[in-house]
Symmetry: D2
Subunit: 135 residues, 4 copies
C-alpha cells in the first residue's frame, strides 16, 4: 500500500466529521503507519491545547490505516477497545501519529499508537487499540 | 448546576470540532450527567454506523459536564486516561451518554460512562475515564 | 449454573497461584456473578492495603465465572483486554467482586466489574474486560 | 539504583502473594526497568499457558521498580489505572517485562510495559500504567 492509497481510505470509509480532523498519511509499511494530524484552532479547547477527543479519534483512525496496510488493502473491521492516556499538552503544532501493529491475527488485531507533537521527543498521548477483523 | 449551565460549558470550553458533535445536556446531578448525542450522517462511517470516534469524544465530553456538576461549576481539568469498549453498532438513532462519577477526589476524579442507542436496553459502548482536577 | 459449580471451575481451570487468592463464588446468574475475595495479609502490600495485583486478578477470574454462568458451563476462552482503575484503598475487609456481562457475542464477550470493600457503598476498583470465546 | 536495590524493593514493599511470582530485576535505568518472570507451573492455567493474572501483576510490579529507579529510590505511590491486552500465549518459558517511563510528572507517572516470552520477538502482552506519586 502507498500513502496515497491510505489517503483514499481516509476519504472513502470515515465519517465526514472524522475527516474534519484533516489527517493525512505520511508513511505506511508492513506493520506500521504514520499519520499527521495538522494543528488547527478548530481542534483546540479553551486554553489553547489540542483536544483529547481529537487525539483519541486520530489514534483510532490511524490504526485502521495501519491494519489496512498490513493486510494489503482495506478490510471490514471494527474497534473493540481503545485505551488512551494523555501525558503532555500540545499547543500550536501538528501531531504525528505512529502506529505499530503488534499482533495481526485472523480475527483480532492489536496496535500500539504513540502521538507526539512534531519536533518533540516525548509522547503527548499513547493509545492501545484492539480491532475485530470481519473479512 | 442546571442542564442550561451544562450547555453553556459545552459552548465555552470545548473545541469547535467537538461542538460539531451536537451534544446537549439532558440531566445533571450531584454525581451524574446524561447527554444526548444526536444522530447525524456526519458522524456515520462507511456502512452507516455511528463512528467510534464520535462515541469516544462524547464520553470524554460528558465526563467534564458530570465533574463540573459534581463540583458545582466548571473547574480546570484534564483527561488522564480513557478506556472505551465498543459492543453494539448504532444506526440512525441518537445515543444517550450517561456518566456516573464513582470517585471525586481532591486531585483525581473517576467516572463510568455508558453509551446506549436511544430506546435500547443494552450498551453500544462503555467507557471509564480518569481526570486530573487542576483547581 | 450454581455457586458450587462456579467453585468447581475455580478449582479446575485456574493457576494454583490464582487459587491462592481464596476466591469463592457467592452468586451466579444469567448475566452476572458475585465472588468474594477474602481479606488476607498475604494479599496486602506494605502499608496494609489490599494489593492492586490481587484486585486485577480477582476481576479477571470473576469474569470467567460470569461468562461460564451465562453460557451454562465452562467454555474455552481467553482474556483479550482488561482495563482497571483503582479508586479507594481496602484495609482489613473482604472485597466483593460483582461482574455484569454487558455483551455476550458469538466470539467476544464484554463485562463490567465493580470491586467493593464489604460494607462499603463505593467502589475500591472498577474493571472492564473483553474475552475471546473459543468454543 | 542497582538491580540489587530493585530486588530489595520487591522484598520490602510487595504483598507476599505477589512475591510468589518470583520476579527478579534484571536491569534498571533512568527511565526503564527489565524484570524476569520465571516460568512456573504454579502460574499456569488449565491448558498450560501462563495466566493473564500473573502477566498483569508482573506489569504492575515492574512499573513500581521503574518509577523507583527513575526517582532514585522507592517513593510512596499507588496505581491509578492499568490497561492490559493479551496477544500471544506463553508456555514453558520465562517472560521478560520491559517498562519504559513515558512521563514522570510531579504527581503522576505514565509507563509502557511490554511482556515478551524469553527468546521471542513479539509481545505476549502489553500494558500501560498510570501511577499517582505520593511523596
Amino acid at each position: 500500500m502507498t500513502p496515497e492509497e491510505g489517503n483514499a481510505i481516509l476519504k472513502d470509509y470515515f465519517a465526514p466529521w472524522v475527516q474534519g480532523l484533516g489527517l493525512s498519511v505520511e508513511e505506511v509499511g508492513e506493520r506500521h503507519a504514520v499519520l499527521r494530524l495538522p494543528w488547527s484552532s478548530e481542534l483546540a479547547r479553551e486554553g489553547g491545547g489540542m483536544s483529547g477527543q481529537a487525539l483519541m479519534a486520530a489514534a483510532d483512525t490511524a490504526t485502521v490505516i495501519a491494519i489496512a496496510s498490513a493486510r494489503g488493502g482495506f478490510v471490514p473491521m471494527t474497534t473493540v477497545q481503545q485505551s488512551t492516556s494523555f501525558q503532555r499538552a500540545v499547543m500550536g503544532v501538528d501531531v504525528l501519529v505512529e502506529v505499530r501493529i503488534t499482533k495481526l491475527g485472523r480475527t483480532l488485531a492489536f496496535a500500539d499508537v504513540t502521538l507526539t507533537a512534531d519536533g518533540s521527543q516525548e509522547p503527548a498521548a499513547h493509545a492501545t487499540t484492539v480491532y475485530a477483523l470481519l473479512g
